[in-house]
């Protein structure tokens, strides 16, 4: 049975009439065409499908649509319009933190969630903060370095 679910998506109010058990990732990708959110495992293990829900990192492959009722969801398509994104992007390129790029949108959102909770993390905290996001290409060091650089240069942004 379809039902109405209202939430905020990338700053705009949306109302979806759909099966409330439908996975958020499918709603985003198939219904709304927001394909920056990737599916790597479908089981909550890889973080490629990360979105921000009320500012915290969430795996959209595990979220039924009903769970986002009244919440604020930000995907990479929304986040990429921000100043914080611009800085993270520059730091990701300078540190070489992108290879195949499949984990990258999720990683960037993980970085955002981490830095908003802790604007000045040490390396340990960064590693902990992104430990739910798998990357098979980089070995993580460059991603960690990029986030540390963003934290250093992002005075006042977070």
């Amino acid at each position: 049975m379809d039902s109405k679910v209202r939430f905020k998506l990338n700053g705009e109010h949306v109302t979806m009439t759909a099966d409330p058990l439908r996975r958020l990732i499918d709603v985003l990708r198939d219904d709304l065409g927001l394909t920056g959110t990737k599916e790597g495992c479908g089981e909550g293990e890889c973080g490629a499908c990360s979105v921000l829900m009320d500012g915290r990192l969430a795996n959209s492959c595990l979220l039924p649509l009903a769970a986002v009722e009244g919440k604020e969801i930000v995907t990479i398509e929304g986040f990429r319009k921000t100043k914080r994104f611009e800085l993270l992007k520059e730091c990701f390129t300078e540190e070489g933190a992108v290879q195949c790029g499949f984990c990258t949108p999720g990683m960037v959102l993980a970085a955002e969630a981490l830095l908003s909770a802790d604007p000045h993390p040490n390396e340990r905290a960064v590693r902990d903060g992104i430990s739910g996001n798998l990357c098979r290409c980089t070995g993580y060091s460059s991603i960690v370095a990029a986030i540390l650089a963003a934290s250093k240069r992002g005075e006042g942004l977070w």
């Binding site: 089981e43 195949c100 739910g132 993580y140 060091s141």
Partner: protein
């Protein structure tokens, strides 16, 4: 050279912006009007005849596709022709594709799949190398238990072995490794008016094209293959993508609509290729003066249900297994056994990681028996310029193994730590119930042959590239190199721009499209920069001489460098056009209670000729080392009764950001005269030597010899429980 002028000075990757912004269109993100989806019905039996399949009636707009829908050949074009695209009456492994269900709604497709019933007449499966060796009939492949069997010798092995004083022997085992690229296998095909276009995630567009042509019985002009951004490959998208590509193409041909096929993680793990498990026996013969006079190696790999690339993987393994050392007399015998398990195949290193694990651990053992320091022992056997390789090929370029070892000493403090951690009194004190971590450090030395094995570059691939100058002054690279995250689009642009002396921004390089790009060979074997890059450089140099012309094309084909030779029947000569070399040091702490291993330091030193982009090189090293550490200590994949037990990313655990420290890496310059601006191969080298350095470190920490991979806490516990006399 001033740093500013060096080609290796990092530049912003050309495939960076769309990836970070989430606008890069991967296959799953692509949509064509009227597109349908496909889902695969797979075997749940390891070895069986298919008696019957009960299928539910289909709703309107849904289709079944099985082997009877294949108008052409139902055999995948591989070195050995044995693998069907869709099972025809029998299955040989759990996960083997039987048929496809095609239609508009993915949920409906899953429901239909659940209702489909395959009835099997099960046969006794072959489940291990030992099973295969013991078999006297009922073979999986032809009339023998293996796909290929090789042997080669160097020097006078028999005599040297006879005259030796004694020998030292070991048997090593290695496990599977799953690629676990973050993007699963994905393909989209569109068949219109007798022509098919396939878009997808792949390393080798021309291999996919060859398969689609064969299966659909289409001419080369009727099949076009376009690579899309690819979420990691590591060898897992070398030959395997031909299967889903053919599936999507068949489904599109039958339904008359574009069809997308995206694997879920579980089916990707159970049905795609893996790194070969293997058993390696090495016996080294020691002369009266305590020197290694001969070596006898016996390699067996578990190749799985179909031959795939097992023959060529076995060749590389066999040519690498004598290590970076000059031992005069050798005999190497190897076999790839057929078993009723998923197909083993290409994975970064291509047999190298197994080979170097065995020979490096064996070297540790020899040093211990001879009472010598293992690094000093290694140094006394390092290959040098002018020596010959295991297959007797002249090593004509400078070899800088000594400098690699020196660099590792300097950065890691290896020898000092090694001596410190071997203080046995301290170890005993720790072992007496005092729960301080056990420390160890290990080293490995290794190489990777760049490019295809043997004369493959000349006889099989015959790479072709094209460089096109446009009216507006831009220059386009036309080659079939796939960008799979390794940075080839950036690197190849840099090479062309440098040769033409124009800004990199003036060079265009799109994802390969067989409709426009000549076949420059597959994106494998650490060959893109060294082989394809060189051809492009030559094109660019010619173009530079004709720069005044407005728009024109320059093409080049591979020519075999002078002075190389290869006999593929006897396995004699230059097994590779050139080698990259490296060394690793790994330092660990082993928890004396839980036997968890913590890596406290990783160092690498590599000779890759000249780096084409320092940052891309560093990224390749970091990523390969992490995969190597995963292979060494944490990635466990077991197949029981033909079924993969770890079929998701929870149970098949790959490294996360908290598992390992940063790698400290340095490069030892050694420009290669045939490579573009001196470059050699890079992508695989930094993976091949990680596991032995890790295992040697754990071995020192616990005072036991490590004989298998992965080195899990359970394995360490078993070793600790064994009799003390087994250890050092």
């Amino acid at each position: 050279m001033k740093d500013e002028a060096r080609i290796g000075k990092p530049m912003r990757r050309t495939d960076f912006d769309d990836k970070v912004e989430g606008t890069a269109v991967f296959t799953a993100d692509m949509d064509l009007p009227g597109m349908l989806h496909a889902i695969t019905l797979r075997s749940s039996a390891p070895r069986a005849q298919i008696a019957r399949i009960d299928l539910p009636a289909l709703p309107e707009g849904y289709f079944y596709v099985d082997h009877r829908d294949i108008p052409g050949s139902n055999v995948m074009p591989s070195p050995i022709l044995d693998q069907p695209f869709l099972a025809a009456g029998r299955v040989n492994y759990v996960g083997e594709p039987i048929m496809l269900i095609v239609g508009p709604d993915r949920q409906v497709l899953s429901d239909i799949l659940k209702d489909a019933r395959v009835h099997y007449l099960e046969e006794r499966p072959v489940l291990s190398i030992e099973d295969a060796e013991a078999a006297t009939g009922g073979f999986i492949y032809a009339d023998k238990p293996y796909f290929v069997s090789y042997e080669y010798c160097k020097g006078d092995f028999e005599r040297a072995a006879e005259e030796a004083a004694f020998f030292i022997e070991d048997e090593y085992r290695t496990g599977y490794q799953e690629h676990a690229y973050l993007e699963t296998q994905s393909m989209l095909a569109s068949f219109v008016d007798g022509n098919v276009t396939v878009y997808g995630s792949m390393q080798c567009p021309y291999s996919v094209k060859e398969s689609v042509q064969a299966a659909l019985r289409l001419g080369p002009e009727n099949v076009r293959v376009v690579q899309l951004p690819t979420g990691g490959g590591f060898g897992g998208k070398e030959d395997y993508p031909s299967i889903p590509a053919v599936h999507a193409a068949l489904a599109s041909m039958k339904s008359g609509r574009p069809v997308k096929l995206v694997f879920d993680r579980k089916e990707d793990i159970i049905s795609t290729t893996k790194r070969h498990p293997c058993r390696i026996r090495i016996r080294s013969y020691i002369g009266r003066e305590g020197t290694i006079v001969a070596r006898d190696v016996d390699v067996s790999t578990d190749a799985g249900a179909y031959a795939g690339l097992s023959s060529v993987v076995l060749q590389r393994l066999s040519f690498s297994v004598c290590g970076a050392y000059d031992v005069e007399n050798l005999r190497v015998r190897s076999r790839a056994y057929a078993t009723n398990k998923c197909v083993s195949g290409a994975f970064r290193g291509f047999g190298g990681p197994q080979a170097f694990f065995a020979v490096e651990m064996h070297t540790e053992h020899i040093a211990e028996r001879l009472g010598r320091d293992s690094l000093a022992l290694r140094r006394s056997y390092f290959l040098e310029q002018g020596d010959t390789s295991s297959t007797g090929g002249l090593l004509s370029s400078p070899i800088r193994l000594g400098e690699i070892a020196d660099a590792l000493e300097k950065t890691s403090g290896y020898s000092v730590k090694r001596a410190l951690y071997s203080n046995s009194a301290a170890r005993e004190k720790r072992m007496e119930g005092c729960p301080t971590p056990l420390k160890g450090i290990g080293i490995s030395m290794f190489f990777h042959g760049c490019g295809f094995t043997g004369s493959g570059e000349k006889d099989t691939l015959k790479a072709k590239v094209k460089l096109k100058k446009n009216k507006d002054g831009t220059v386009e690279i036309l080659a079939s190199c796939a960008e799979i995250g390794q940075g080839s689009q950036t690197t190849l642009r840099k090479i062309v721009a440098r040769a033409l002396d124009i800004p990199v921004g003036m060079v265009v390089h799109r994802y390969p499209d067989t409709g426009r790009c000549p076949d420059s060979g597959p994106t494998v074997a650490s060959r893109s920069v060294m082989i394809v890059g060189r051809l492009l450089m030559d094109c660019a140099l010619e173009m530079k001489g004709r720069w005044k012309e407005e728009d024109f094309e320059v093409t080049r084909s591979y020519t075999y460098p002078e002075g190389l030779c290869w006999d593929n029947d006897k396995f004699q000569g230059n097994a590779y056009p050139e080698y990259s070399w490296g060394g690793n040091v790994v330092e660990v702490e082993v928890d004396p209670l839980t036997f968890e291993v913590k890596v406290t330091g990783v160092w690498g030193a590599y000779d890759i000729g000249e780096p084409m982009d320092d940052r891309i090189v560093a990224g390749q090293i970091d990523g390969a080392v992490a995969q190597g550490l995963g292979y060494a200590g944490m990635e466990v994949l077991t197949v029981e009764a033909g079924r993969v037990l770890q079929d998701n990313l929870t149970t098949y655990a790959i490294p996360t950001s908290v598992d390992f420290p940063r790698t400290v890496a340095c490069l030892i310059p050694n420009p290669y005269k045939e490579g573009p601006f001196g470059a050699k191969g890079l992508g695989e080298l930094p993976l091949v030597g990680v596991a032995p350095a890790f295992a040697a470190a754990v071995g020192q920490a616990i005072g036991k010899r490590i004989l298998r991979l992965p080195v899990t806490p359970e394995y360490i516990m078993r070793l600790m429980e064994e009799e003390a006399e087994d250890g050092f």
